[in-house]
Symmetry: C2
Subunit: 584 residues, 2 copies
């Protein structure tokens, strides 16, 4: 037996017991006559003591050979500690070691296994198995596990069945971002890895499964943005005989259960906001509502005063930054520069200060007198001490720019506390979006999303105006999930494919099996998918999803620990009846 207890377990009640422990040497403090070792495992740290009076010479010699990260087993007696450490569970005791076995030696690790390590990102990724020994990484993986268990238990209690859908599926011409997998048994043919189990979950509804879920790996072969992974995990769900309301209730229940566990409070009903309102009030379809700074549109107050920029703008809109009227010219200029960076792309902005002394002044005093300005501050509901920024231009662009400023100010002013949670449903998304590049409509959610019944007629007359029964779950300004009520009528589905520019043949080739399935009694159904990696990160007060993945890939899609992807043997290619066709 390697241990009688873990290293997080012993306390004053165990004093005088003989115990066996195993673990890694975390630290060694050698005072000559006394030596202390912190022994670590997943569960905690236990202090070992060797002392010249009570320990044998052999034992002391043997302990002298230890180094950091050695794996050892000890036998000894639990004794009361002289200087107690109230910060750890085992802080009242230590083990007077009687026997020491070195189970495995260790080279000096390439970085320190401490909460604050000296290892850079790249080194830690290469030696990820050592990084995982560190509490901040280990704790994140354990947190992820616990969240997954809670999700599974909640959904199982709600009569959802976890069904495993296939990983080796069909590649579709639309699947530009599919990973493909050549089949040895079927040379020249390929499977694809799923970007989501969308069609399978719809088929499960047609199959009468009624309530399906799966925590499932999905795959996307695309240029990776800073925090995307080629393989990622979804909580994927679908329900039959439901309306949007039923889906929202179930998943706000699920999210509230997780949040309650973390934040220790009830979240009740989540607020809901239409896409149109979210864009108008926050310039963003995933607003962070932990703080205000709602957009205020002031066209009617600023136009016609000879200020050309505003006169020519489609929209003049601003935010009120509370309590910031005392910002210096330098601070304000820095913010103006910030919005002019190419990432934001604004031409500039106007400020209005409602000074603490009651005076209202602005960067456009030339065009607006104090009365004009006061009317504006009134519309914002600004008080003495507030600072207003106004931006102007094309409606969509200016909203996006102002949204960026709002988020930046939220960060700078400490209004985005990661331990505070503000969930929100955004609903009534547009069904379609026009793509300038290809000159056709794209499905905003996906081609299986149902239009709102009252908007179906718009498909004939003004498709871009049709709203979908689609919804996103937003948490702290991040989209953590999205879904929709699905089309379950084959004619409406055919019309959608048509609108999206599919020929009948294309639609048949790609989705024939789903269209076919619709003929045999498809029930009304709706669903949702949540990005599990992101959800877990945000619930844990973090936004870096990579930290919550045991073995993540880097921005080039590489696993630097195992060195993948890599070239394969010629015989393997030959067996697959493939040849490399490398461009220069």
């Amino acid at each position: 037996m390697f241990r009688t207890h873990t290293n997080g377990e012993l306390n004053s009640q165990n004093i005088d017991q003989k115990v066996t422990l195993s673990g890694w040497v975390q630290t060694i403090r050698d005072k000559g006559f006394m030596m202390w070792i912190d022994l670590r495992d997943r569960y905690g740290i236990t202090q070992l003591v060797f002392d010249a009076d009570r320990s044998s010479k052999e034992l002391l010699e043997s302990a002298g050979k230890l180094g950091r990260e050695f794996v050892i087993q000890i036998e000894g007696k639990v004794i009361e500690r002289q200087s107690k450490n109230p910060k750890i569970a085992t802080g009242n005791i230590e083990i007077l070691v009687e026997k020491l076995t070195i189970l495995n030696a260790s080279e000096v690790p390439p970085f320190t296994i401490e909460d604050q390590t000296d290892g850079g990102e790249e080194l830690r990724m290469k030696y990820r198995y050592l990084d995982i020994r560190r509490n901040p990484v280990k704790d994140k993986l354990i947190f992820r596990h616990k969240m997954a268990q809670k999700v599974r238990n909640y959904l199982s209690e709600q009569n959802f069945i976890e069904v495993e859908t296939p990983v080796l599926i069909k590649s579709t011409p639309e699947g530009a971002r599919d990973f493909v997998v050549p089949s040895r048994m079927n040379p020249g043919q390929f499977y694809a890895l799923p970007q989501s189990p969308q069609t399978f979950k719809q088929l499960l509804m047609i199959g009468g499964m009624d309530r399906y879920f799966q925590i499932v790996k999905c795959f996307r072969d695309e240029d990776l943005r800073a925090d995307r992974q080629p393989e990622f995990t979804q909580i994927d769900c679908e329900m039959a005989f439901v309306e949007q309301e039923d889906v929202l209730e179930i998943f706000e229940g699920m999210t509230a259960t997780l949040l309650k566990d973390i934040a220790g409070k009830e979240f009740g009903k989540f607020p809901r906001m239409t896409f149109a309102d979210a864009m108008k009030k926050y310039g963003n379809d995933k607003p962070d509502i932990r703080f205000g700074m709602e957009f205020v549109e002031v066209n009617e107050l600023v136009k016609g005063k000879d200020f050309k920029i505003f006169d020519e703008a489609e929209l003049v809109v601003g935010i009120n930054v509370e309590g910031c009227a005392e910002y210096t010219r330098k601070q304000i200029d820095e913010l103006i520069d910030w919005v002019k960076r190419p990432q934001v792309g604004a031409n500039g902005m106007i400020w209005i200060k409602f000074q603490n002394d009651g005076v209202v002044t602005s960067s456009v005093n030339k065009f607006y007198n104090e009365e004009d300005l006061k009317k504006i501050t009134e519309k914002f509901g600004a008080k003495a001490g507030d600072l207003i920024f106004l931006m102007s231009g094309n409606e969509n662009k200016v909203r996006t720019q102002l949204s960026a400023l709002r988020m930046e100010l939220g960060n700078r002013l400490g209004l985005r506390n990661p331990k505070e949670f503000a969930p929100l449903w955004v609903i009534d998304f547009p069904l379609l979006e026009w793509d300038e590049e290809t000159n056709r409509y794209h499905a905003m959610h996906h081609p299986f999303t149902a239009p709102k019944p009252e908007d179906v007629h718009l498909l004939e007359t003004d498709p871009g105006k049709a709203r979908a029964n689609a919804y996103d779950l937003i948490l702290n300004g991040n989209e953590i999930g999205g879904g929709s009520v699905r089309i379950f009528d084959k004619d409406l589905q055919a019309k959608m494919f048509n609108l999206l520019g599919f020929t009948k043949e294309d639609a048949e080739a790609q989705f024939g099996f789903l269209m076919n399935a619709f003929q045999y009694g498809a029930p009304p159904h709706a669903g949702l998918a949540l990005g599990f990696d992101r959800l877990v990160a945000i619930l844990d007060g973090n936004e870096v999803i990579r930290d919550y993945i045991a073995f993540p890939k880097n921005n080039s899609g590489r696993d630097v620990m195992i060195d993948a992807p890599s070239s394969i043997a010629d015989e393997q290619l030959d067996e697959l009846e493939l040849k490399l066709n490398l461009k220069a």
Copy 2:
């Protein structure tokens, strides 16, 4: 709202309530003046009634248009049923329908959605979504879900952490059966899909995760035997600071928990048998111990009696088939023909009857007198009425042949009751097996398996004799899991790779990251993986794993429903910088 209740929910207590139900039309019985419809969903069946006296003409007309598998919604009143059906939960009531909405029509399905369907395997696979509507398929998927939940809850309670390991990993030259995945971002390079997360779980142990599990998809691109799938699911586990005993205890606890739930009884400690004993007693390393018929070796009783076949045989071994002495000559000849089939490959066999009248006779009376024969029956512990079969030849071959006969007789005599469960650990497997073809050793389990400490010296002198700390979990004659204590010392691991014929460079190229990890304090560790598909099938009293997979592939690795694998667009190949290189 589509329903107030499911179709499995209403009973006498709901009489007089107004309800809304949705579901599929299972059956229609139209008696002219009365019409009954069985409405089905995942939860059950509810009988709907329309009647000429109480229903409006429009309603009756609308009901008249219904067909099988139409999706409908009804509103109505729960009333007491005339002829009750005690077999179903809702058998005491029916719904007098007041309003009927056809949610979706259905073509006549290609096979009947009944427990006993008229659809053949191929048709049902093509329309798997309709097959899933049938109770026998649906119930299996629900059973699978419940087992997965139980496994997860059990292991979580035992402090195991579910960690997701990557699906896109590194292909190794050894991985002849790897599926590979070309990377668009890294042209000419490939990921591989994991055949198991073996190295990752070992790295997690090195990373201090202590107890890891995962219910995870694994992949193998190989010719598919009757009941293999290119993607399959494993319960994958690993533990640190443990010995074999700890692993066996945890997983017999897990299996007993599942079995208790199904069979309603405690299973206590599972029996254990060495590989050597299993081969000697059952000719098989996965014996079905639901029935006896243990092998009895009789060399010393049969040799030297001028029966050349036995005199020349390395081993003469038999089984006692209780109560079958009255088998006719024809029945026995048929069994002899059975063992002579190429699948078994025996040259023949000898029978000895211990007749009910006490006389012992045999097919070799010419060589053995009754006293000789009685000695044999005594060694078998046979009683009057028993029938003994003896086979002879090369030790390994004859055991395999006799094992096939034993299993066949077990089946024919009804000794393999699928609702009876006999778990068993087979332990002490050989570490290596000699491969005649390549003229070198192969790892019997895998190259990371530790030899038994007392056999390590044999690696130098007689490696084939070394036993491993490896174990298989057997249930009803099926291997449902296997694992081993792992090597955690880099020198021993290097020696193993050497024994297995790897050059130092090969070992480095393929397992360098693991060998490297061993340098930084690898703890002792051991693990196990269970085939989840098979486990679930056997627990459910079945052996066909395909039935427990929602969307299985056929023997050619094809998903006939979605038609995968399939060819991909030239542009996709081009982007991957690949070319087809098809052989004639």
